[in-house]
């Protein structure tokens, strides 16, 4: 398996989906069976390789990059094709491959309008390459390329297959088609952030020249970390912060999220929530903290404050929603707030919490968006005032919705608990030198946020699932969960339970890597 371990395996995980997309390109649009077969084959192959990698991964050396390779790529700027996975990226990589397969399977029976499986699957596959690539890139240029590569397919997904309703732009006397407004907003917001991020990368590149050869190499830059101080480092951190914070998204840069999630087709929302949001928080852990530890520490209180505002603000906004999908979308603001609170503590506990929180949010909120999509597909509305009594109309779907809502509100024993609980635990004793009072206040507010989270989740369940069905649905026939949905959802349900009961599945990979990262960045 030598070929697998020294770069080929990982490269295949990244580029197999792209190869599948090329294969789709050569397939006639009419031949839907072939489209399905190709997209399933390539995503399943990717998942198999990712799982194989998890089995071959040396957890004893989880802090080291494995399965990697470093090749010359763009010699003129000394940017290399440097890839590898460590304990931090491995769970996210597997998550990405996992959710992609489920999205493909779900799509087989839920093609969004306009009907174009070839285009839709093509974009999904390109998206997969971008997501997987971001998690394994160890070169800033490569990272940037994959990070941006994600943008286009998602933009088109929302723009073409999104919600066609006409919306009023609040505060302006204008109207726009929801999908167009949301797509543009998503695109420009992210582009705005990543423009700064690119500037930050370039600044690091030129600065690194002062200590040897200019480099984009992430491990090499981490070695130079003690040199990055003062105003330079402050500005670079600020630039990277903008890029990553938009993606997470952190308050107040989150406003693209509710629109994009709500407007996107179901699979788009799922991938957006499950994977794309993690690119930002992953960037903080992979790039910002290890390369600019001093600045990370300096910015930590600000990050914590914004994170807590996100938790409270997102939860309160959820309570005001009437649209089920938009409520779930807003819940991401709160949940990612916990992830960022964990990161802000700069401790092994907090950063581990952030990663398991990311994985948990991926499976839980991904499943919630699947459910919201399937429900609005059947009811032709997402208005919670019109829904109700779903447990009577579609008991299986209602049951899964209830289960997932419980997981989302952080019920202990399910996946969502660890991220929340440990983020708060981290905030109780942040990195030495950080303001304990501030972080403990953040902890208490975050804990209040968990109450609000329970508040809107149970409220949603009451409105959607419980009570008697309204007469509107009386004489209609509803189809409970179909086999495609079952195939896509059961693995997520299982993952939620298994991670909840046996968190080592994630923490076993991340802990050593995180401890080593924190030790390296902030000393013993």
């Amino acid at each position: 398996m030598g070929w697998f371990d020294n770069g080929w395996g990982l490269s295949l995980i990244v580029f197999l989906p792209l190869a599948g997309a090329i294969g789709l390109l050569l397939t006639p649009r009419k031949n839907e069976a072939a489209v399905k077969a190709i997209s399933l084959l390539f995503t399943v192959a990717t998942l198999v390789l990712a799982v194989l990698m998890a089995f071959r991964f040396d957890f004893g050396n989880a802090n080291e990059f494995q399965f990697g390779t470093s090749l010359t790529w763009i010699e003129s700027i000394n940017s290399g094709y440097h890839i590898g996975v460590d304990g931090i990226s491995l769970p996210l990589l597997v998550l990405s491959a996992f959710v992609t397969v489920l999205s493909v399977i779900y799509s087989f029976n839920h093609w969004p309008e306009p009907h174009n499986p070839k285009g839709f699957m093509g974009l999904t596959l390109v998206l997969a390459t971008g997501m997987n690539g971001t998690f394994v890139a160890l070169d800033l240029v490569l990272f940037f390329v994959f990070f941006e590569l994600v943008l286009l397919p998602m933009y088109f997904m929302i723009g073409i297959w999104g919600d066609k309703a006409i919306m009023k732009i609040p505060g302006f006397n204008r109207e726009a088609e929801t999908r167009l407004y949301a797509a543009i907003k998503f695109f420009l917001f992210t582009l705005f952030g990543s423009a700064f991020m690119l500037l930050g990368f370039l600044a690091l590149y030129f600065k690194s020249g002062e200590y040897g050869t200019r480099t984009f190499d992430i491990p090499a830059l981490i070695e130079l970390a003690p040199n990055f101080t003062g105003t330079f480092a402050f500005l670079v951190f600020a630039a990277l912060f903008l890029g990553f914070a938009v993606k997470v998204p952190m308050w107040p840069l989150h406003t693209w999220l509710p629109d994009a999630h709500t407007a996107a087709p179901t699979v788009g929302s799922v991938l957006l929530a499950a994977i794309l949001l993690k690119l930002g928080s992953y960037g903080f852990i992979r790039i910002s903290i290890p390369i600019l530890p001093e600045m990370a520490k300096q910015w930590a209180p600000a990050i914590a404050i914004l994170a807590v505002i996100g938790i409270i603000y997102g939860s309160l906004a959820c309570l005001a929603q009437t649209d089920m999908k938009r409520l779930i979308a807003f819940s991401s603001v709160g949940h990612m707030g916990f992830v960022m609170l964990g990161i802000a503590t700069m401790t092994p506990v907090g950063i581990n919490a952030a990663i398991i929180g990311m994985v948990a949010h991926g499976v839980i909120t991904g499943l919630l968006f699947f459910l919201a999509g399937s429900m609005s597909h059947r009811y032709h509305t997402r208005d919670m005032a019109r829904l109700g009594g779903n447990m009577k109309i579609m008991p299986i779907m209602g049951g899964i919705l209830g289960f997932t809502a419980m997981a989302s509100l952080g019920l202990p024993g399910l996946a969502g608990f660890w991220g929340e609980f440990m983020a708060l635990f981290g905030a109780y004793s942040p990195l030495a030198g950080l303001n304990t009072t501030l972080f403990r206040t953040a902890m208490v507010l975050g804990a209040i946020g968990t109450v609000l989270t329970a508040g809107y989740m149970l409220w949603m369940l009451q409105k959607v699932n419980l009570g008697e069905p309204s007469e509107e649905w009386g004489d209609q026939h509803f189809h409970d969960v179909d086999p495609y949905e079952m195939t896509a959802w059961v693995p997520l349900v299982v993952a939620i339970v298994v991670i909840g009961v046996f968190p080592r599945l994630v923490l076993g990979a991340t802990n050593d890597a995180v401890v080593s990262l924190v030790t390296k960045a902030f000393g013993g």
Binding site: A21, I22, L25, R29, I74, I77, G119, G122, L123, V126, T129, V141, V145, E148, L149, L151, L152, F156, G159, I169, P170, G171, A176, L180, L188, L198, L202, T255, L316, A317, L319, A320, Q321, T347, P348, V349, M391, L411, P412, F421, M422, L424, F425, Y428, S429, M443, V444, A447, T450, A454, L458, W459, Q462, L466, G467, V501, R504, L507, G508, N511
Partner: protein
């Protein structure tokens, strides 16, 4: 065996009544089955229950029979030789902290296992009859089994994380079962209320766990208590806060003032649920927590016992008074439960560890019994209101007989179970010198006897005021009541000062490390006062509420003039919470936040978009510079281009864009390098 266990063993050898401790042998090693079996049963009921003749109820009862028998074996082993066994399995590390699942078999947990197993077995059996013909019996038994599993997970927890997992697990089951008949919004709202109030209290539990875990470097309860007893590390500095915060958690689950408001509403659930969860077991989790962490409260955090004592005392009296004014028989019992939990908590606060747990033990029997009796009555008359009852003594003799036994036990009449446990609590108040608390406790005893007498007279005497013809419940329901009635009589005989104090030893295996007063004999003045108060309560109830069949119409219900309105409004606490907290957050505050999102934050974004676009038009039309035009196209004019791009895309050339992005990004970088 860990260090704390060793320490206990060492201390035990020096203790006066030294007990030989065993490790419980194979039964302790396999005690994890207690926890796993209910969860397996839960899954089995969910997936296969519907296909079975009793809709899954047989799996649930079978699992509880197993738990009961296993718990009884552990209990016997502990009684014979005393057991301290603890085993943990690490399931993850986070930083330097271990996340573990495990189980504890010691005196305290064995006692709880037995209470849970016995009560669950009896009440599940009762539920087979009670829930017959229900809309969704399968789900009922599934959730009920989930509760049992979570409760056992909580009690068996060797560390605070597992305790929290079980703690919130029983909260989930409580939410599900209170709202079991969720067609009615009132029921699901009651379930939500229980969940929210507990979630608020859990903030205290969770942060309390943090506070204690940090200086010890471990979430293990034995490590924490080890540090407390040995005063190692920095634990002394945080002991008070840790103890006080854990108590906030206990206040939620054990329905202490002012967080008791969820428990009366929880009566919306089926009566077996009220009996098992909201009387006998789940609500005692807070008392159990205090007991489990008692070495902390004993000395190092002794100041934290002051609020515990105060809250418990307030709770026992205010809830007792509320029970007096209820017409709903289940609400009487619910407030009574709150009041009795107040006794237990106050006992813990006064330093009477054994007395508090002893009352938990006896209360489980007679309050479980009273709820089953109430359920039997409700089953028969199809109403919760005592104004629809009356005269049921004759058509329901078994229910009547057992209910009276439960009533006398709760009122604390010698020699029934409640007499011994309540007397021990009052004696402890007296011994510790808390005279005011003792007085309130005695008044509480009077009130308890009074409202129970009222309930018995309104329900079983006078003439029947309801509809239909009341009938005795089937044997599957009455048999558990008879068994519990027996226990309500004899359950207190396990801790008689001067005669037999086995209970003290059972729960004492871990509590040997702190000093606690154990009376050599009864505190006779307290016995006399307590019995007099109970007797007077019953007599007062008789005079005010006893109705002869003939004179029944003559008198109206009695109402205490000044207190009544206050009590009818439940001290206005619900109004305060609703109008002061919930409604503002759900209404104006949430709407305001959403408004700022749309109009302020998005307003800025949209304004920036429109300005950029206008600027781009201006530049293009007026300056007409091709370079600028090109750059802005990608940004501001994307909307207009989208249709065109869409058409391109639908020809299947998606990948061109991906390639273009890569190339574009690379070109951009090269550009920066060349010109930068």
């Amino acid at each position: 065996m860990n260090t704390f266990t060793n320490l206990v063993l060492a201390a035990a050898e020096e203790a006066e009544h030294s007990i030989e401790y065993g490790d419980g042998g194979i039964f302790a090693e396999w005690a994890w089955l207690l926890v796993i079996v209910p969860f397996v049963a839960f899954v089995a009921i969910v997936f296969f229950g519907k296909r079975l003749p009793r809709q899954g109820g047989e799996i649930a009862v079978g699992a509880m029979a197993f738990v009961f028998i296993y718990a009884a074996i552990l209990f016997v082993i502990n009684t014979v030789e005393g057991v301290v066994f603890e085993h943990s399995v690490e399931v993850a590390r986070i930083g330097s902290f271990a996340i573990e699942w495990g189980w504890v078999v010691d005196g305290l947990s064995s006692m709880m296992y037995l209470v849970i197993g016995l009560l669950a077995f009896l009440i599940f059996t009762y539920a087979l009859g009670y829930m017959e013909g229900d809309v969704r019996p399968t789900w009922f038994f599934a959730a009920f089994t989930l509760f049992a599993g979570s409760m056992l997970l909580l009690v068996s927890a060797p560390n605070l994380i597992q305790l929290i997992v079980g703690w919130e697990g029983v909260g989930l089951a409580s939410y599900l079962l209170i709202g079991h008949w969720w067609e009615d919004k009132e029921n699901s709202s009651a379930g939500m209320k229980a969940f929210y109030v507990n979630k608020v209290a859990d903030i205290g539990l969770v942060i309390g766990a943090f506070v204690l875990a940090i200086p010890v470097g471990s979430f293990r309860i034995s490590d924490v208590l080890d540090a407390v007893v040995g005063n190692s590390g920095d634990i002394e500095a945080v002991a008070f806060w840790g103890a006080a915060l854990l108590f906030i958690g206990a206040m939620g689950k054990s329905a202490q003032f002012p967080l008791h408001v969820w428990l009366p509403d929880a009566m919306a659930g089926p009566t077996p649920v009220s009996a098992l969860m909201h009387a006998a077991t789940m609500v005692t989790a807070g008392v159990y927590l205090l007991g489990r962490m008692y070495p902390l409260y004993a000395e190092m955090a002794a100041e934290a016992r002051v609020p515990v004592l105060i809250i418990g005392t307030i709770t026992l009296i205010i809830a007792g008074l509320l029970a007096v004014v209820q017409d709903d028989i289940k609400k009487v019992l619910a407030y009574s439960t709150v009041s009795q939990l107040g006794y237990m908590v106050a006992a813990m606060g006064a330093g009477a560890y054994t007395a508090g747990l002893f009352h938990l033990w006896t209360h489980a029997f007679f309050k479980g019994l009273l709820f089953l009796g109430a359920g039997s009555v409700i089953h028969s008359v199809h109403s919760n209101n005592m104004s629809d009852m009356g005269g049921l003594r004759k058509p329901m003799p078994v229910t009547f007989g057992t209910f009276v036994a439960g009533t006398l036990a709760l009122a604390g009449i010698f020699p029934l179970a409640g007499f011994f446990s309540k007397d021990e609590i009052l004696a402890a108040f007296n011994y510790e010198g808390y005279t005011a608390v003792l007085v309130i406790g005695v008044v509480g005893a009077f009130v308890t006897a009074f409202y129970m007498a009222r309930t018995v007279f309104l329900t079983f005497y006078g003439t029947y005021k309801g509809h239909g013809r009341p009938h005795e419940s089937p044997r599957v329901m009455t048999m558990p009541m008879v068994v519990l009635a027996g226990l309500a009589v004899v359950g207190g005989w396990v801790n008689i000062p001067g005669l037999y104090t086995g209970f003290t030893d059972w729960v004492g295996t871990r509590a040997q490390t702190f000093a606690e007063h154990h009376a050599e004999s009864f505190d006779w003045p307290v016995v006399a006062i307590g019995l007099t108060a109970a007797f007077l309560g019953i007599v007062a109830g008789y005079f005010l509420y006893y109705r002869d069949e003939e004179t029944q119409q003559a008198r109206d219900s009695f109402r205490i003039p000044l207190l009544w309105p206050l009590l009818e409004h439940k001290y206005y606490l619900d109004d305060l919470y609703m109008n002061g907290i919930v409604t503002p957050i759900k209404g104006p505050i949430a709407r305001f936040v959403d408004w700022t999102n749309s109009y302020v934050l998005d307003g800025i974004v949209n304004a920036a978009g429109f300005v950029t676009r206008a600027l781009a038009r201006f530049v293009y039309q007026d300056l007409d510079q091709r370079g600028i035009d090109l750059a802005l196209n990608g940004v501001a004019y994307s909307t207009d281009d989208l249709a065109g791009r869409t058409r391109l895309l639908q020809t299947g050339k998606v990948q061109q864009y991906a390639g273009a992005t890569v190339i574009g990004a690379v070109l951009l970088v090269i550009g920066f390098v060349v010109f930068g």
